[in-house]
């Protein structure tokens, strides 16, 4: 899936804000990255709303602080699967997810 393109962009200082098919990203790849960022932002929002630190969330998830940081950054090494499981662990429902994705 060549997630490194985005990483490369960022390293080059490009700050992928929202929706960047900029260089070389197929529409699916763009949609994938956007989706990941949407979920990543939502995860951070929800964690903070529950007054949890990354360390505390990591404990709840049986994960590590560094991975939580990567999740919230939408890092290429994090799958949608992990992101969504983390949201579910914060009590996010399927309906909540729909609202997160809705325009």
């Amino acid at each position: 899936m060549d997630e490194n393109k985005r990483k490369a962009l960022e390293e080059a200082g490009w700050r992928v804000g929202s929706a960047d098919e900029f260089l070389e990203l197929t529409p699916e790849e763009t949609a994938y990255v956007e989706l990941k960022l949407t979920l990543a932002n939502s995860l951070r929002d929800r964690r903070q709303a529950q007054h949890l630190t990354q360390v505390e969330l990591a404990q709840r998830l049986q994960s590590s602080q560094s991975r939580v940081a990567k999740m919230e950054a939408g890092d290429p090494s994090v799958s949608l699967d992990l992101l969504i499981r983390s949201l579910l662990a914060l009590g996010t429902t399927q309906e909540d997810l729909a609202l997160i994705l809705a325009p």
Copy 2:
């Protein structure tokens, strides 16, 4: 995540229709399985709506027919990540996803 519980259920003839915290599934696990089945069903619907066979979809995804079958079955060996990427490959937008998840 012990996805095998559900597999076990099904093998025991339990047909996990919708929402089975039945035996031993935590709320998150139940939500995860439900979500997976929602996406799995949607994938099948969309594939059929576009008159594609599993083989044809597999080609488009650079995957295999057997994996598409597993996706549509919500098999434990399939991640939400792959399911969602497959939906995106069928032209599903973030907004579409929201509708798929909405009650």
